[in-house]
Protein backbone atom coordinates (compact mmCIF):
# COMPACT_ATOMS: atom_id res chain seq x y z
CA UNK A 1 0.00 0.00 0.00
CA UNK A 2 1.25 3.52 -0.79
CA UNK A 3 2.55 5.27 2.36
CA UNK A 4 1.03 8.54 3.52
CA UNK A 5 3.80 11.15 3.85
CA UNK A 6 3.99 14.24 6.04
CA UNK A 7 6.41 16.67 4.37
CA UNK A 8 5.16 19.76 6.22
CA UNK A 9 5.74 18.18 9.64
CA UNK A 10 9.13 16.98 8.42
CA UNK A 11 10.07 20.44 7.20
CA UNK A 12 8.97 22.14 10.43
CA UNK A 13 10.63 19.48 12.58
CA UNK A 14 13.87 19.84 10.65
CA UNK A 15 13.81 23.62 10.93
CA UNK A 16 13.11 23.46 14.66
CA UNK A 17 15.88 20.92 15.21
CA UNK A 18 18.22 23.03 13.07
CA UNK A 19 17.52 26.15 15.13
CA UNK A 20 18.14 24.21 18.33
CA UNK A 21 21.43 22.76 17.11
CA UNK A 22 22.58 26.15 15.80
CA UNK A 23 21.80 27.82 19.13
CA UNK A 24 23.69 25.14 21.06
CA UNK A 25 26.68 25.65 18.77
CA UNK A 26 26.55 29.41 19.31
CA UNK A 27 26.14 29.14 23.08
CA UNK A 28 29.10 26.76 23.26
CA UNK A 29 31.23 29.07 21.06
CA UNK A 30 31.35 26.59 18.16
CA UNK A 31 30.51 28.78 15.18
CA UNK A 32 31.73 26.10 12.79
CA UNK A 33 30.34 27.78 9.68
CA UNK A 34 31.49 31.29 10.44
CA UNK A 35 29.03 34.11 9.96
CA UNK A 36 26.39 31.85 8.41
CA UNK A 37 26.34 29.25 11.19
CA UNK A 38 22.78 29.91 12.33
CA UNK A 39 21.16 30.49 8.94
CA UNK A 40 22.83 27.58 7.18
CA UNK A 41 22.30 24.97 9.89
CA UNK A 42 18.64 25.98 10.14
CA UNK A 43 18.13 25.65 6.38
CA UNK A 44 19.98 22.35 6.22
CA UNK A 45 17.84 21.08 9.09
CA UNK A 46 14.70 21.95 7.16
CA UNK A 47 15.94 20.23 4.00
CA UNK A 48 16.97 17.11 5.89
CA UNK A 49 13.61 17.07 7.68
CA UNK A 50 11.87 17.20 4.32
CA UNK A 51 14.01 14.35 3.01
CA UNK A 52 13.32 12.40 6.19
CA UNK A 53 9.58 12.75 5.64
CA UNK A 54 9.99 11.01 2.28
CA UNK A 55 12.76 8.51 2.95
CA UNK A 56 12.30 7.40 6.54
CA UNK A 57 11.17 3.80 7.12
CA UNK A 58 7.38 3.88 7.19
CA UNK A 59 5.42 3.39 10.33
CA UNK A 60 2.79 0.62 10.13
CA UNK A 61 -0.55 1.39 11.66
CA UNK A 62 -3.89 -0.42 11.51
CA UNK A 63 -6.43 1.18 9.20
CA UNK A 64 -8.74 3.70 10.78
Amino acid sequence: MRPRRRPIIGLVGGLVLGVGVALILVFTSLAILGTYTVIFITIVGGVLGLIWAYMAPPRRVPPA
Binding site: G14, L17, L23, T28, S29, G34, F40, V44, M55
Partner: protein, 217 residues
Amino acid sequence: MRPTARAARATVISLVALCVLVAPVAAFDMNGGCDLALSSTDESGAPLDAASGGPSGDDGGTQDDPFLVDWEGSVSWTGSSGDQVFTNHTWQTYVFNIPIPVAGGDDNPDGTTTAEGSADVSDNAPFQFTGLYYVSGQINGEGGTHCDGSGWFKMTGNPLTTIPFWIAVGICVLGGVLLWAARPVVAVVPSTAAATVVAPPPTEPPPPPPPSGEAGR
Protein backbone atom coordinates in the same frame (compact mmCIF):
# COMPACT_ATOMS: atom_id res chain seq x y z
CA MET B 1 18.14 8.82 -9.90
CA ARG B 2 15.16 9.21 -7.55
CA PRO B 3 14.18 12.79 -6.62
CA THR B 4 14.82 12.18 -2.92
CA ALA B 5 18.27 10.80 -3.63
CA ARG B 6 19.01 13.84 -5.81
CA ALA B 7 17.88 16.14 -2.99
CA ALA B 8 20.09 14.33 -0.49
CA ARG B 9 23.08 14.59 -2.80
CA ALA B 10 22.43 18.30 -3.43
CA THR B 11 22.28 18.91 0.33
CA VAL B 12 25.61 17.21 0.93
CA ILE B 13 27.23 19.15 -1.92
CA SER B 14 25.84 22.43 -0.56
CA LEU B 15 27.21 21.66 2.91
CA VAL B 16 30.67 20.95 1.58
CA ALA B 17 30.62 24.02 -0.66
CA LEU B 18 29.65 26.31 2.20
CA CYS B 19 32.32 24.87 4.49
CA VAL B 20 34.88 25.61 1.80
CA LEU B 21 33.58 29.00 0.70
CA VAL B 22 32.73 30.58 4.03
CA ALA B 23 35.90 32.03 5.49
CA PRO B 24 35.93 33.57 8.94
CA VAL B 25 36.13 37.36 9.10
CA ALA B 26 39.79 38.28 9.05
CA ALA B 27 39.56 41.33 11.29
CA PHE B 28 37.28 43.65 13.19
CA ASP B 29 36.03 45.31 10.05
CA MET B 30 34.87 48.94 9.71
CA ASN B 31 34.00 50.48 6.37
CA GLY B 32 33.04 54.00 5.32
CA GLY B 33 35.59 55.96 7.32
CA CYS B 34 34.11 55.37 10.77
CA ASP B 35 36.16 54.41 13.81
CA LEU B 36 35.07 52.28 16.73
CA ALA B 37 37.05 51.30 19.81
CA LEU B 38 35.70 48.91 22.44
CA SER B 39 36.96 47.90 25.83
CA SER B 40 35.53 45.58 28.46
CA THR B 41 36.03 44.97 32.14
CA ASP B 42 35.39 41.95 34.30
CA GLU B 43 33.31 41.68 37.45
CA SER B 44 35.94 43.43 39.58
CA GLY B 45 36.32 46.30 37.12
CA ALA B 46 39.73 45.16 35.87
CA PRO B 47 40.38 45.49 32.12
CA LEU B 48 39.35 42.32 30.28
CA ASP B 49 39.77 42.98 26.55
CA ALA B 50 39.87 45.65 23.85
CA ALA B 51 39.13 45.77 20.13
CA SER B 52 39.08 48.49 17.52
CA GLY B 53 38.39 49.00 13.87
CA GLY B 54 38.51 51.78 11.33
CA PRO B 55 41.00 53.88 9.40
CA SER B 56 43.34 53.96 12.37
CA GLY B 57 43.69 50.19 12.24
CA ASP B 58 41.89 46.98 13.10
CA ASP B 59 42.69 45.07 16.24
CA GLY B 60 40.93 42.04 17.72
CA GLY B 61 37.26 41.22 17.35
CA THR B 62 37.90 38.33 14.98
CA GLN B 63 36.54 34.80 15.13
CA ASP B 64 39.93 33.55 16.29
CA ASP B 65 40.47 36.47 18.66
CA PRO B 66 36.99 37.62 19.69
CA PHE B 67 36.26 40.60 21.88
CA LEU B 68 35.72 39.12 25.36
CA VAL B 69 32.76 40.26 27.43
CA ASP B 70 32.00 39.30 31.02
CA TRP B 71 28.36 39.01 32.06
CA GLU B 72 29.10 40.73 35.36
CA GLY B 73 31.36 43.32 33.75
CA SER B 74 30.88 46.33 31.51
CA VAL B 75 31.62 47.48 27.98
CA SER B 76 32.81 50.94 26.96
CA TRP B 77 32.95 52.35 23.47
CA THR B 78 34.27 55.35 21.60
CA GLY B 79 33.16 55.99 18.04
CA SER B 80 33.73 58.55 15.34
CA SER B 81 32.17 59.05 11.93
CA GLY B 82 35.34 60.67 10.62
CA ASP B 83 34.70 63.31 7.99
CA GLN B 84 31.05 62.39 7.63
CA VAL B 85 28.21 64.03 9.52
CA PHE B 86 25.25 61.68 9.88
CA THR B 87 22.01 63.64 9.91
CA ASN B 88 18.55 62.06 9.87
CA HIS B 89 20.26 58.73 10.20
CA THR B 90 19.02 55.22 10.88
CA TRP B 91 21.04 52.32 12.16
CA GLN B 92 20.48 48.59 12.35
CA THR B 93 22.38 45.72 13.93
CA TYR B 94 22.53 42.05 13.01
CA VAL B 95 23.61 38.87 14.79
CA PHE B 96 24.86 36.18 12.42
CA ASN B 97 23.44 38.29 9.58
CA ILE B 98 19.96 38.16 11.09
CA PRO B 99 18.41 41.57 11.88
CA ILE B 100 17.69 42.08 15.58
CA PRO B 101 15.48 44.68 17.27
CA VAL B 102 18.51 46.73 18.34
CA ALA B 103 18.05 49.57 15.87
CA GLY B 104 17.22 53.24 15.82
CA GLY B 105 17.88 56.61 14.34
CA ASP B 106 18.35 60.27 15.12
CA ASP B 107 18.13 63.66 13.42
CA ASN B 108 21.51 64.67 14.91
CA PRO B 109 20.73 68.41 14.65
CA ASP B 110 24.01 69.34 16.36
CA GLY B 111 26.07 67.56 13.70
CA THR B 112 27.86 65.39 16.22
CA THR B 113 30.56 63.15 14.76
CA THR B 114 31.73 61.34 17.90
CA ALA B 115 30.06 59.21 20.53
CA GLU B 116 31.14 57.40 23.62
CA GLY B 117 29.52 55.53 26.42
CA SER B 118 29.57 52.63 28.81
CA ALA B 119 27.07 49.99 29.88
CA ASP B 120 26.87 47.16 32.36
CA VAL B 121 26.27 43.96 30.42
CA SER B 122 23.84 42.30 32.81
CA ASP B 123 21.63 45.40 32.90
CA ASN B 124 21.00 45.15 29.17
CA ALA B 125 19.91 41.52 28.74
CA PRO B 126 16.97 39.67 30.28
CA PHE B 127 19.04 36.64 31.26
CA GLN B 128 22.62 35.44 31.23
CA PHE B 129 23.96 33.87 28.07
CA THR B 130 27.30 32.73 26.80
CA GLY B 131 28.86 31.97 23.44
CA LEU B 132 30.57 33.31 20.37
CA TYR B 133 28.63 35.83 18.26
CA TYR B 134 29.14 37.54 14.95
CA VAL B 135 27.68 41.03 15.15
CA SER B 136 27.42 43.51 12.33
CA GLY B 137 25.74 46.82 11.83
CA GLN B 138 25.28 49.77 9.54
CA ILE B 139 24.28 53.39 9.73
CA ASN B 140 22.85 55.42 6.87
CA GLY B 141 22.30 59.15 6.88
CA GLU B 142 21.18 61.97 4.66
CA GLY B 143 23.21 62.66 1.55
CA GLY B 144 24.42 59.10 1.17
CA THR B 145 26.52 59.01 4.32
CA HIS B 146 27.14 55.42 5.28
CA CYS B 147 29.24 53.28 7.58
CA ASP B 148 29.14 49.61 8.37
CA GLY B 149 31.15 47.26 10.49
CA SER B 150 31.31 43.77 11.89
CA GLY B 151 33.17 41.74 14.43
CA TRP B 152 33.05 38.79 16.80
CA PHE B 153 32.51 38.92 20.52
CA LYS B 154 32.48 36.18 23.09
CA MET B 155 30.41 36.11 26.25
CA THR B 156 32.50 34.25 28.78
CA GLY B 157 31.07 31.71 31.19
CA ASN B 158 29.74 28.18 31.40
CA PRO B 159 26.83 27.64 28.98
CA LEU B 160 25.45 24.75 31.05
CA THR B 161 24.51 27.18 33.82
CA THR B 162 22.49 29.48 31.56
CA ILE B 163 18.81 29.33 30.71
CA PRO B 164 19.18 29.92 26.93
CA PHE B 165 21.33 26.81 26.55
CA TRP B 166 18.64 24.59 28.06
CA ILE B 167 15.96 26.30 26.02
CA ALA B 168 18.02 25.35 22.95
CA VAL B 169 18.16 21.75 24.19
CA GLY B 170 14.38 21.82 24.56
CA ILE B 171 14.03 23.14 21.01
CA CYS B 172 16.15 20.22 19.80
CA VAL B 173 13.92 17.74 21.62
CA LEU B 174 10.82 19.35 20.11
CA GLY B 175 12.36 19.11 16.66
CA GLY B 176 13.17 15.44 17.24
CA VAL B 177 9.60 14.70 18.29
CA LEU B 178 8.25 16.43 15.19
CA LEU B 179 10.63 14.45 12.97
CA TRP B 180 9.53 11.23 14.65
CA ALA B 181 5.94 12.14 13.90
CA ALA B 182 6.85 13.00 10.31
CA ARG B 183 7.68 9.43 9.34
CA PRO B 184 5.57 8.04 6.50
CA VAL B 185 2.59 5.98 7.58
CA VAL B 186 1.38 2.78 5.96
CA ALA B 187 -2.03 1.41 6.88
CA VAL B 188 -1.86 -2.37 7.06
CA VAL B 189 -4.52 -4.97 7.75
CA PRO B 190 -3.49 -6.87 10.86
CA SER B 191 -2.64 -10.50 10.07
CA THR B 192 -5.11 -11.80 12.66
CA ALA B 193 -7.90 -9.89 11.04
CA ALA B 194 -6.91 -11.22 7.65
CA ALA B 195 -6.92 -14.75 8.96
CA THR B 196 -10.36 -14.45 10.46
CA VAL B 197 -12.02 -13.20 7.36
CA VAL B 198 -14.87 -15.65 6.76
CA ALA B 199 -15.50 -16.75 3.26
CA PRO B 200 -19.07 -16.20 2.09
CA PRO B 201 -21.23 -19.35 2.22
CA PRO B 202 -21.62 -21.12 -1.09
CA THR B 203 -24.86 -20.22 -2.76
CA GLU B 204 -27.17 -23.07 -3.55
CA PRO B 205 -27.84 -23.58 -7.22
CA PRO B 206 -31.34 -22.61 -8.22
CA PRO B 207 -33.73 -25.52 -8.61
CA PRO B 208 -34.15 -26.68 -12.14
CA PRO B 209 -37.28 -25.37 -13.78
CA PRO B 210 -40.01 -27.91 -14.11
CA PRO B 211 -40.29 -29.35 -17.57
CA SER B 212 -43.16 -27.44 -19.11
CA GLY B 213 -44.02 -29.90 -21.87
CA GLU B 214 -44.39 -33.00 -19.67
CA ALA B 215 -46.29 -31.38 -16.78
CA GLY B 216 -49.78 -32.00 -18.22
CA ARG B 217 -49.26 -35.57 -19.41
